[in-house]
Symmetry: C3
Subunit: 301 residues, 3 copies
């Protein structure tokens, strides 16, 4: 398989074979030094996303590459349309690979269309964030030794959660049993759940304790206040959806808890030191996974 | 010729021989790697200018050098006078070369006076932006094979256009025929045109179609709404000064269209794919030209 | 002595022997190249501090290391508590050493407690800024050849001056005679002066000319308008506490004037060219001193 010159825009663009191939490359590439010597990455963050940006830049630099870019777009108006295209075309002549984070859905695809060099989507609005999905998959693979035949729970805001939507799609050929646990108002979109049902066994519920003893992995997500009309509703949900030591006692001994971070109270800090908590490892995995992706699209893997 | 330790503040400081020497160095230097190993550039952007900053930083890094700096000055008050001098003196001890962009005319010169290391002006207000002129000249040289005896049109806002003023000056010893095409209200300043007439044949007009068939190069510039008292006047001018396929049909087959970017509608996107359009190449040339300038002032060319 | 993996949070954590050891390492380490090859520093500036940030980044890069980070925290709310801890834990997995600047007292200590990698305090509010103290000590050592038995004056705002408080503490075992010169309203805190008196001879006065002929070093500090209730009081103090050529005539021939910068009029620019003025050298020393500190905590010195 050859990803040299390819763009990484959406996880949907990758087959099971490609996903497995890429994930298997990570451990090999993360030990390499200087394979991206002389290569230049443009890190174009049209909105701030500190952790994503820092892990991309760390990935590039650990392999000997260089970085130019910006961490925020200062202008009051979002750069879009023709202006965005001109900017991408100019930067495309400066750098060997472009990482773009932009608040507008579809912006990364547009960038990929006009750039000659490979473009990696670092998140385009509520749409796609494929490198997050790769690092989620890599984390599951490393902790369980396999991606096949797992029981995975998704907890929290499943309506708006971009990471959950992408991850469930990416798992479609791995025979995953999926458990969706959320308040009624934040359930997985019907359209999406109908799609998933075609390839995965699905269970939906509102109470985590109905399914906790079945889960190999629990993928928790942030529940944002802004999603609720009334603060009371938010507080009630927040009180129900929190992971603490009580929760762990009822779960499988080897359950692993993931979270894309930042959290806002869904996971109590008392769990941080438990072996079941792997959300910091998950965040750290952003670096080796992005090292692999950068090397692959730059033809140096 | 030896530029080691020299400042680059204004294009007026360079003779024809020096300009030619520098431009001829570009192709040699852009292939070098690591000649600026261990060298540190301070990139002091007291106002944002993303493309200029990124191309300077790309230039430094492609040659193996390092960069420290800032992309904007957060304080509400512009740093000037004694404060600016102290800042330059401090940073001068950190780095081997300073690139300064500052909204105030003359700031780069002041920086050059107090710094021991070479200072490169990345734009000081409406005054000077010499590396832009070098990349414009390099672009003309590469596309036409020579700087001598060309017919060059300048289109748009010629009153305030810093890039045009500097470029016309830089061309003074190359026997250029110059055509200035602008609305009456945005004509070249009389003082300047009188100076140019001493060394170049000059034609002024308001209608591009009066001269289009004579041009080897058309250098278009942005016409900004803010220059007009009445929006109607702006719209009328904008309607007249636009380059599209109709325009190309009437021009010489081998005309080359340049623009310092960003554009705001002066050049239709339909032209981007034409061989006559070289404004993206022009932007890309910012990197090799700045590689050459950095190497020269650092004594590594 | 081995500082590998150690945090640098407060100057109080270092013994005389350790301070001397570190300062003696500076000249050796500043000549080294590439000893931090492949090492990654996270530069987390939750508030802007351009000179401190640039000198840390210059230090890392001069030794061949890489830098990721941010220069300001854009959010309206200061990141603290659990959010700060999560951020540090995530970044700790990306980088080999963390430099943190944060407006809240105690934040660097918290970061050091949760990070596995070494943490260097780049200033936590009004509390500590240990690398500034190291560079002040190094400057004294280089200019006087010793830290022992010196007469050092401290001038200006001694009530709020973090740098003076730390420096006087660091000098406690060097048999320093200390002269504190300030307006009544900005005297050294009584508690602190009582502590210092246990190990150093101390003199307090309001008039610099009472002691000027005794000083080997005069460490001046900025007097900020905001410290005064009435502008008249500020102006009166400002008129008294200024160093100019008149002052120099009355001082010892070999007096050296230091200042942590930025200044706001306490030192006239006419003194900048005098051999007695060493405040720019002092600022420049930030780079080699931070080179030494980074190498030591990374186990590469």
């Amino acid at each position: 398989m050859n990803f040299s010159g390819k763009d990484i825009i959406a996880i949907e663009d990758f087959s099971k074979e490609e996903i497995v191939y890429i994930l298997n490359k990570v451990d090999e590439i993360k030990e390499k030094k200087n394979i991206l010597n002389g290569k230049l990455m443009a890190s174009l963050f049209f909105e701030p996303s500190t952790r994503t940006r820092l892990s991309f830049e760390a990935a590039m630099k650990k392999l000997g590459g260089h970085v130019i870019g910006f961490s925020d777009w200062k202008d009051s108006s979002v750069m879009k349309g023709e202006d965005l295209i001109d900017t991408i075309k100019v930067v495309d002549g400066y750098a060997d690979v472009i990482v773009i984070r932009h608040p507008q859905e579809g912006s990364a695809k547009i960038a990929a269309e006009v750039a000659n060099n490979p473009v990696i989507n670092g998140g385009d609005g509520t749409n796609q964030h494929p490198t997050q999905t790769f690092l989620d998959l890599y984390t599951i693979l490393k902790t369980k030794g396999t991606l096949e035949n797992l029981n995975i729970g998704f907890l929290g805001d499943l309506k708006y959660g971009r990471t959950v939507h992408s991850l469930t799609y990416a798992l479609k050929d791995f025979n995953t049993k999926m458990f969706f646990i959320s308040p009624e108002s934040l359930k997985m979109p019907t359209e999406l759940i109908n799609k998933i049902k075609k390839y995965s066994e699905c269970y939906e519920c509102t109470d985590i304790f109905d399914v906790v003893d079945k889960l190999d992995i629990l993928y928790a997500t942030r529940i944002q206040k802004e999603r609720f009309m009334f603060e009371d509703d938010f507080k009630r949900v927040q009180g129900t959806y929190k992971l603490d030591e009580e929760f762990l006692k009822k779960a499988r001994k080897d359950i692993k808890i993931m979270h894309p971070l930042p959290r806002v109270g869904e996971i109590k800090h008392e769990l941080d030191f438990s072996e079941n908590a792997i959300y910091f490892q998950q965040a750290h995995n952003g670096v080796p996974v992005r090292m692999a992706l950068l090397s692959l699209v730059l033809g140096k893997a």
